[in-house]
């Protein structure tokens, strides 16, 4: 079968970083991975999305934090809708936590159901790997086949398109982000970024958070602005308009420096850059929570506001049971959200594996090119 693989090569990572080309990635012919245990099955990807963290990896920009949590060579792709040997369609919950790894007893986080906080991502009977798509034993979605533990599989409802199904994983991340700030008094929420995560976060806030009165979205591009509005944003601002939009919505005053006296009660940074995080903290009200929904890397920001305003900077990674929603799982909530908002339309372009450079370039400039989610179409791939 064909697969896109990332090798451990310092030279290739350096080349990717310097040239802005996916130099770490190569299309190769390989054997499908073997199931590492009796609870594992081989599945055949139908569609597999390209995520911001994938782009950071293949362009050599990912944080070295992840080094212990990957095993080379690996096939990327953790947003997956696939078909089982019996023809059922499934989406993969990719976190490779204690139970998947055969670690017994499980860590305290996994025991509490918080598998996204698993402490054993490099232990157990499979190789290190944060998620499917970063582990050389499981394979990943950008290939003709991979293996998955039965507990990783969620069945796709009948009648769903593959496009809708491939969004379950990223939308579940957004659901988790939206629900990670504790509920409280009625408040204004700001969502910085209008890619897949940002747009789905807007929808999740609208569907699952009754305490948010107004959603202000930051979107750079016309299609993002349109979608943000359709998914529930009350106000859509361009990046340099955010501060004024929050001021208007909250009745804050502005100091001579341009700083707001108040701000939004909760801010979701769905980009993860120095600029987006600076913007997010700048518009957060005293005591507000700033949720990091987009994967950040090394950022350079002034944290004085965080200290002086007692802001809470909260990471939101992956998914799990959501206490705010009666412990329903993020994946279930994501499926509800996708259904309610017809979110399959966010899949803008599909590419075969051999056009991976083009696909990755498209995904890197998705907003500017009027796209949201770009994915690989594997429905015509040979399986062996």
């Amino acid at each position: 079968m064909r697969a896109l693989q990332v090798d451990r090569s310092v030279t290739r990572f350096a080349t990717a970083r310097l040239s802005s080309r996916p130099a770490v990635l190569r299309l190769t012919e390989t054997e499908p991975p073997a199931p590492p245990g009796p609870d594992w099955v081989t599945i055949r990807p139908l569609l597999s999305g390209i995520c911001g963290s994938d782009l950071a990896t293949v362009y050599g920009r990912a944080s070295r934090w992840f080094e212990p949590y990957v095993s080379f060579p690996f096939t990327p792709g953790h947003e997956i809708v696939a078909e089982t040997a019996t023809g059922e369609r499934v989406v993969v919950e990719p976190v490779l936590h204690c139970t998947i790894r055969g670690v017994d007893p499980v860590c305290s986080s996994c025991a509490a159901g918080r598998t996204n906080r698993c402490e054993n991502l490099a232990a157990g009977h499979i190789a290190a790997g944060l998620q499917t798509g970063y582990c050389n034993q499981t394979g990943g979605g950008w290939s003709g086949a991979l293996v998955a533990h039965r507990k990783q599989l969620h069945y796709v409802p009948a009648g769903w398109s593959d496009e809708a199904a491939v969004l379950v994983e990223p939308v579940a991340c957004s659901v988790h982000a939206a629900l990670s700030a504790p509920p409280g008094e009625p408040r204004v929420a700001a969502v910085v970024g209008a890619g897949t995560i940002g747009l789905a976060t807007i929808a999740a806030i609208r569907s699952f958070r009754e305490d948010v009165t107004t959603v202000i979205a930051v979107a750079k591009h016309p299609d993002q602005r349109r979608l943000a509005r359709q998914l529930g944003a009350d106000v859509v601002a361009e990046p340099d308009e955010l501060r004024r939009a929050v001021r208007r919505a909250t009745g804050s005053w502005v100091l001579d420096s341009g700083q707001l006296t108040g701000g939004a009660g909760v801010v979701f940074d769905c980009v993860g850059t120095s600029e987006s995080l600076s913007s997010s903290t700048a518009v957060a009200a005293p005591g507000a929570t700033v949720v990091l929904a987009g994967m950040p890397g090394r950022v350079n920001i002034d944290l004085t506001a965080l200290w002086q305003r007692e802001l809470r900077l909260a990471g939101a990674y992956a998914y799990g049971p959501e206490p705010v929603a009666g412990d329903r799982h993020s994946f279930d909530l994501a499926m509800q959200l996708i259904s309610e908002h017809d979110m399959g339309r966010l899949v803008s372009a599909l590419y075969p594996l051999e056009r991976h450079s083009e696909a990755l370039d498209h995904a890197s400039h998705a907003g500017a090119r009027g796209a949201t989610k770009v994915a690989f179409d594997l429905r015509h791939e040979k399986r062996r």
């Binding site: 859509v236 601002a237 004024r244 939009a245 208007r248 009745g251």
Partner: protein
Amino acid sequence: MTRPGFVLEVDRSTPPILTWHGEGFRLESLPAGRSRVIYPPEPLESLKDPDATIRRALESPLGDSKPLRELLFPGMRLTIAFDDISLPLPPMRRPDNRQRVIEAVLDIAAAAGVDDVVLICALALHRRMTESELRHAVGDRVYDSFAPIGRLLQHDAEDPAGLVHIGVTEHGEDVEINRRAAESDLIVYVNINLVAMDGGHKSVATGLASYRSLRHHHNVRTMRHSRSFMDPEHSALHSSNWRMGRLLAASGVKIFQIETTLNNDAFPPQMAFLQKREWEWNPRDRASYAASTRGLSLLTPRLARSLFQSIKAPHAMTSVQAGEVEAVHAETTRMVHRQQLVEVQGQTDVAIFGLPHICPYNVNSIMNPILVMCMGLGYLFNLYRGRPIVREGGVAILSHPTPWAFHPVHHPSYIDFFEEVLSETTDPVAIENTYEERYATDEWYRHLYRTGHAYHGVHPFYMWYWGAHALEHLGRVIIVGGDRKAVRRLGFSPASTLADALEMASDVVGDEPTISHFHCPPIMIADVK
């Protein structure tokens, strides 16, 4: 001898026509055989002795008013209100009409033994003037006598303690004005009547009013029923102000109105070509034009703005009327018309308006895109009597750089209006219904208006309403040479050149459209038959 206004039918021998373009101008060739250029009358002769004329007017009032001297007595409360920075345009050389009149009034008040005198700049919802702007308007002597002791004030339309509700007109309009003025024994209002819209009952009923009162006539319905608001006889804006003014009079508020008119000598001698007819340009005019355009092309927009904002017009006083409000204003309007009316036969398919660097709301400031709209579709479009110069469904072509730029101190709510409101809709009614109240009551804008130099939060809405009649009337609006993104945000079409704009206009009005070029400034009123 002053020559009247003139309409030139463009033929093959017609030279290119000067067209204003913000802080600059262009020479544009117009299609022969179907274009006309509307030129204003030349400046009227000025009064030989303005100060003596003012004294005579105060002594010989119009209407049923007694001479000012007889209305003043010891122990009375006298309030002298005066027009703000929005008049005249460009600002006039010293001494300003306001200074001359206020000094004359103060001389009479002093002679009558009046001690309790307060001067109030009638800002309405405009920005507060700076010290230098006030000094320019009222003169150093008046400023130094009154400002240090807190007796030169600027009207605050958001000060609950400083306002008094007088009553409600028969049309249900609240009349709420400045408390000090209302509770004075006499208000003397000092006007500069640059256009026919200014003065009359509008002086006090608007200049000294609150938002609660102003919203009854500064709204979309009124603007759409003012055809035009430069023609008081056919202006719902004026009808409302007149009802309010009569209520004030009936409630015992005594007003002694003083109105002054100016000639339209708007530019200094070195820029004389700006108010000449092109075929009459002499070598010096041509050289001035060439040097100006070359020099301006070398300046940054900021420097060009500073240069143009420094222009002081040699406007000269042409008349003074004093006394009862309506009698005074009737004579003032006659004088304004004498200077500005130009008879024009019929409408055309297209009107071209070159927009200058200044409008009433960007003195010492930036002509932001909302003000471009207001200047083009609010002011220049409405400078007519009878009918607009462009037919219904026709096209207005504006020429202005329309930068996406705002003065952050003067126009804070404009920035929000542009970013938030216009990105959603340009429909005046939807804007009024959805957004006006929130902006009008925003505490931050209120704070900036009251303590800084910001226009009131609702002001950009009024600018948009000012153009509501034109928006309803026109089939399309095209801006030549503007920032394309800003022009589109306004809901208009950008064009690179006038030729492109005329090509685009043909989509709406057909091939070979008839064209009017409104050669303004100087200001004029097209009397369209």
